[in-house]
Amino acid sequence: MLQILIYGAVSSAIYAMLAVGFTLIFGVARILNLAHGSFYALGAYAAYVLTSLFKVPLFLAAPLAVLLVAGFGVVMERFLVRPLRSSQLAVLMITLAVSLAVEQALFITFGSEYRNVPSFVADKLSIGGVDISGQRLLALVAGVLVLLTLWLFIQRTRLGAAILAVSQDPEAAQYMGIPTNRIFSIVMAISAGTAALAGVLVSPFLTVQPTMGLLPMVKAFAIVIVGGLGSIPGSIIASLILGYSETIVAYLISSSWTELVSLVAVVVTLMIRPSGILGRRAAF
């Protein structure tokens, strides 16, 4: 029982980090970023390259990896997505193209074999009789901290208020003197950074390989649809629901069936409440 509680919390935290960035960039810039999974994969690979090839100590490599990927996200938004923003299809195509290009680039440079990243914390902890690796616990703590910081940032700072304003009405925000394009860049950096951080944090205990970004991205879609496109609290609630139901399914039936959970969740949500748990805009 306690095992479900802890492992469910860990996967919920990782899903939440992925989904929040995805929903944020959609909510603010209306960009449906199909390259979101590649940020996650790039984060893991950046951590691998920095620690294994350049021998950078891990506590330094992690923030560096996050910054690099955030920079990549900003460049992608500025030069590839922004010129095509008038057409939704073109944005979908270009971000999908980027994600394929990243996957292929990783495949060509690193090959398809699994890579290992050293753990941040090697110790195992025991909570109430349940053994859990320190790395998983770190992922949980870091996830909660990142989400809290993000929430405070958006609710309490001037920049956060500007982001909220743009998400509500980009045109009116522009008239008020908010530089919308710069806001898009900042949001893209945050979005790419949190996805990369999730990748860095899971890299020691999950497999690092070129196609690792696809499935988490599919999960992020599912969470965002369940929680409501563009709603951050919605996606956090949906992350908890999905993280826990997957853990319960894995525990009670078999881990093979977990992939079905997100599909069922999406279908049920779209049938019963298409706008998601906390979606503001009606979807139909």
Binding site: A97, L270, M271
Partner: protein, 309 residues
């Protein structure tokens, strides 16, 4: 969309004749095989174009229908070992069933739900193929399908015939009252609804047609390769098809089919580049997105024939 004129029909006959005679250039099974794959991609691309090109609802998981059709053929051949010809109608049926499964919950909605749901569904089905490897053969897939027609050249002609019929049927549908409604939905869904058109019905029906042809192509592919494997469901297959339609000119159907043939030939020529192949593909897509937003084949044909009509 302008109506078909004599010049279009003449052009179509010339293209089909060239394609039918192309294997005579070199008496090699290799060329015939490549051309067969070209024609199958043509079926996939034109079927994608019919639904997504006309209604503007981007289907990012066409490989779901392709894989469903191919695996239907695979299961029929390896488990029940039925007459191989039975797999074609069965593949169409199963693909249509999948289209209903995804289409019903998502096509009622506006927004990107359909695109996301299709992408996720195809990715998850690929995973399921690997997870339930006892039944699906896992990574290796299913082997030992029987060819529909033993002679590869005759099979190529058969597939080319299917492609021609597919393009003709889809073009006629697109030209009809039906196609007009689909394009009206792309233009303004709310107005269509206000005019009393059952928008959801038309979207789902067009997805069913699109899925049926994709499944047919999948079964043809399975009986060409004589095996099926999980990469058929992959996002790469879907995106390859979308790129072909983009190059052909969205909403033109014949453009999609011709672009599919040309691009498949191109990738075959690029085989020397090995793993860089997909890179070149992705690069083509980016260039076309930036410089030719209307595609290449259909606008070119329109410009060529403008004087002649």
């Amino acid at each position: 969309m302008r109506s078909i004129s004599g010049i279009d029909i003449a052009g179509g006959i010339v293209v089909i004749t060239i394609l039918a005679l192309a294997p005579m250039l070199a008496a090699s099974n290799y060329l015939t095989g490549v051309l067969t794959v070209c024609a199958i991609y043509g079926i996939w691309a034109s079927s994608w174009d019919f639904m997504s090109g006309l209604t503007g609802r981007e289907n990012f998981g066409h490989s779901l229908f392709i894989g469903a059709g191919a695996y239907t053929a695979g299961f029929l051949a390896t488990i029940w070992s039925t007459n191989p010809w039975l797999s074609l109608p069965m593949a169409v049926g199963i693909a249509i069933a999948f289209s209903l499964l995804v289409g019903f919950p998502t096509l009622r909605l506006r927004g990107p739900y359909f695109a996301l749901a299709m992408l996720s569904a195809s990715a998850i089905l690929q995973r399921l193929c690997l997870i339930f490897w006892e039944y699906t053969g896992g990574e290796e897939g299913l082997y030992g399908l029987d060819p529909l027609i033993k002679n590869p050249l005759h099979y190529y002609w058969f597939v080319l015939g299917v492609l021609a019929i597919t393009v003709v049927i889809l073009t006629l549908l697109a030209q009809s009252h039906w196609g007009l409604l689909l394009r009206a939905i792309r233009g303004d869904e709310a107005t269509c609804q206000a005019a009393g058109i059952n928008v959801t019905f038309y979207k789902i029906a067009s997805l069913m047609i699109s899925a049926g042809f994709a499944g047919l192509g999948g079964a043809l592919y399975a009986h060409y390769q004589l095996q099926v494997s999980p990469p058929l469901f992959s996002v790469v297959v879907s995106i390859t098809v979308i790129i072909m339609v983009y190059v052909g000119g969205i909403g033109s159907i014949y453009g999609a089919a011709i672009a599919a043939i040309l691009l498949t030939l191109l990738t075959e020529m690029l085989r020397g580049f090995g793993e860089y192949r997909l890179w070149i593909y992705t690069l083509t897509l980016m260039l076309i997105l930036f410089f030719l937003p209307n595609g290449l084949i259909a606008p070119l044909w329109r410009r060529l024939t403008e004087r002649l009509r």
